[in-house]
């Protein structure tokens, strides 16, 4: 049996957008970040898909996990703080789409 693992699609610095979706079940993509644009900070490795593991399924193919950096001012319209403030979030690859080139 081979370990099934999805190949990484993104590299650090790539612009990405989080899919806007609302599937049922155990989801690790926080609601506040769905549909938002950010930049890949790093690839963390590949991990069993928690949306599957939560239901005692094998979690394969393992999903590349990224840390994606977002600008706070773009997430919260009423954000109070420096324009350079950021939030980094771990997002699995199947939640990411290529972002707009900047």
């Amino acid at each position: 049996m081979t370990t099934s693992e999805a190949a990484p699609r993104f590299r650090p610095g790539d612009p990405v957008r989080v899919r806007f979706a609302d599937p049922p079940g155990h989801i690790r993509t926080p609601w506040y970040i769905r549909g938002r644009a950010g930049v890949v900070e790093r690839l963390c490795g590949s991990f069993g898909n928690p949306e599957e593991l939560a239901y005692n399924r094998p979690g394969t193919p393992r999903q590349p996990l990224y840390r994606v950096r977002f600008r706070q001012a773009q997430i919260w319209p009423d954000y109070r703080g420096a324009g350079t403030d950021t939030v980094d979030i771990e997002i699995y690859q199947h939640w990411l789409e290529p972002g707009d080139a900047r």
Binding site: P30, Y79, R80, D85, D88, E90
Partner: protein, 219 residues
């Protein structure tokens, strides 16, 4: 579980000549659905011989034995040994093991505070926390208020912890939503040049490794 024919404790008169203020209600948590589920599963596992009560006790003791002093040792070493700091930032789990601390199953990310950047850790979804290095999370870390506000208004939350971050410093929030765990490497406080590594470790609070505070100034 009181049997129906057992006398209730309040079935006798309480009069003894003077009044009492009403008793403050107990703050024991309610037995929620999931707590009852945990008790039931644990008792079944023990009853069926899968695990023993002693196994459970040992696991709890091992969990309780981990504490922020371990993380403080790691920080103090990083402050005094630049080569160690470089290893800690590059491969946190390996560098932490060097000091005899078992970081646990999760991969750690060490976030370095600098004069230009202040890092703050939160888990908006639940309570992910670097338990291997810091022990159990404080209750406020698991509260809905912290989890929602740390990401939305981090500077206001920091201010409530007594930590004023000027606008010239970037606040970087890290939402620990999945498979990584985060440890903040606070800035070494001014005036600490003459201190030994163990004296330095005493300046490193749990809160400073979550990012809601700075390391203490030496007294």
């Amino acid at each position: 579980m009181t049997a129906p024919d057992e006398p209730r404790v309040d079935d006798h008169p309480h009069e003894h000549g003077h009044p009492h203020p009403p008793a403050r209600p107990d703050t024991d948590d309610a037995l929620t659905y999931y707590k009852a589920m945990e008790v039931a599963v644990r008792e079944l596992l023990i009853e069926k011989g899968v695990i023993s009560a002693e196994d459970v006790r040992r696991a709890i003791e091992a969990m309780d034995a981990r504490n922020p002093a371990q993380g403080a040792r790691v920080v103090a070493r990083a402050w005094t040994d630049p080569a160690y700091k470089a290893r800690l930032l590059a491969d946190p789990n390996a560098a932490i093991k060097e000091l005899g601390v078992e970081p646990g199953a999760y991969r750690l990310v060490v976030l370095e505070n600098t004069p230009r950047q202040h890092n703050l850790v939160v888990c908006t979804l639940c309570s992910c926390y670097p338990r291997g290095v810091l022990g159990l999370p404080p209750d406020w870390y698991k509260s809905r208020a912290y989890r929602s506000r740390a990401v939305r208004e981090p500077r206001a939350v920091l201010r409530e912890f007594g930590t004023e971050i000027p606008d010239t410093v970037e606040v970087r929030v890290h939402d620990s939503t999945a498979d990584m765990r985060y440890l903040v490497l606070p800035e070494r406080p001014a005036g600490s040049e003459a201190l030994s590594e163990s004296e330095l470790a005493e300046l490193v609070s749990r809160d400073s490794m979550i990012g809601v505070a700075r390391a203490r100034a030496p007294s």
